[in-house]
């Protein structure tokens, strides 16, 4: 009987692998879009590219969704709400960053209101290059994400739990306070 070293060091259990396969087949995307990338999602959802071929559908509430898309630039004001939204989502949850703005600031690299890199504040599973990426690229990204989930590589939500202090310090450094306070919530 051959015992491979990979099998001994495999931390994913058998049932976890089965679960990962099912998770990849039915992804619910949170219908929350920031910036310009939201323009590319209607063609991706509708008849020509048809996101539902991959088993993905839009979902209106964070507590039922699996995937959070940050589509484009992210201002500090929105980042507070995004952190709220991300922490409300149930595990397993996956986060995809669209376009150059989430990578390095893009054309807003010198703006006083827009953050420069997203993975400093929230764990990003997958980045998608382009400004803006076409629907074909988005479909490719979703297929890649599905494969990553099936193999068990999309572990952003585990990283967020393990390194929560690091993420929290970065959030507080840039935002001052994550708690949302405005005159409509007084």
């Amino acid at each position: 009987m051959n015992i491979f070293e990979e099998d001994l060091n495999d931390t994913i259990t058998f049932w976890e692998k089965i679960k990962n396969i099912f998770r990849g087949k039915s992804l619910w995307m949170l219908h929350y879009c920031t910036g310009c990338g939201a323009v590319e999602l209607p063609p991706t959802m509708t008849a020509r590219f048809d996101m539902e071929r991959l088993g993905m559908g839009p979902m209106a509430t964070p507590r039922q969704a699996d995937v959070l898309l940050i589509t484009g630039y992210l201002s500090v004001k929105t980042l507070r709400r995004v952190i709220y939204t991300y922490e409300q989502m149930m595990t397993p949850k996956y986060l995809v960053g669209f376009g150059s703005c989430t990578l390095n600031g893009g054309i807003y690299y010198d703006s006083y209101a827009v953050i420069n890199r997203l993975d400093y504040y929230l764990p990003v599973d997958l980045y998608l290059a382009g400004c803006m990426p076409r629907p074909e690229a988005i479909m490719n990204t979703f297929k890649t994400l599905e494969n990553m989930i099936t193999k068990g590589e999309a572990n952003g939500w585990k990283k967020y739990v393990e390194n929560y202090d690091w993420y929290r310090n970065n959030q507080i450094r840039s935002l001052g306070e994550v708690y949302v306070k405005d005159e409509f919530h007084e």
Binding site: K77, G105, Y109, Y112, E183
Partner: protein, 184 residues
Amino acid sequence: MNFTNDTKELISILEKSLDIKDFTTPKKNEISIVVDQNNVPTILTYLKDKGWKQLSMITCVDWIEENKFELVYVLFNWTNGITFLVKTKIERENPEYISIIDIFPGARYYERDIHEFFGVKFEGNSDSEKPLFLELWDDKPPMRKDFDPLEYSKRKFPDRKYDVELSKNVVKEVIKEGGINERT
């Protein structure tokens, strides 16, 4: 200037009574006047009576070399479609001005906006000190010309570091493989 007789009369009245000098028409159907600080509420009230009932916006221009802020009140008349710009200049250090919310109540939010982005205080507007767009802002007002957004962005939002040499080598390799035609 293809204005109607009413508008011509109005312009002449303004010229005679308040001795306004700078009448310009930046665009078609748009009149711009530069007035003294103290005359602004009078002129706005007069124009509101004459049919310029809508305050489209208040905006502010930073003339840093003259050391002045310029407030621009944009009024619109729905009966003849003429836009009126009323401009006035105030000091840049400790800028303060009179609020016009008793003439146009909608000015409340524009004044909050200007207080937030330029630091102009409006007397008589109780809400003008409240933050409107920026949350927990801890620097000088961001729309002033002497505010450096790049420095603020570098201090607050860490950037991704790139290896410049590596990226140059990658480009050279791509050129060798024939992916990009090298420009000669």
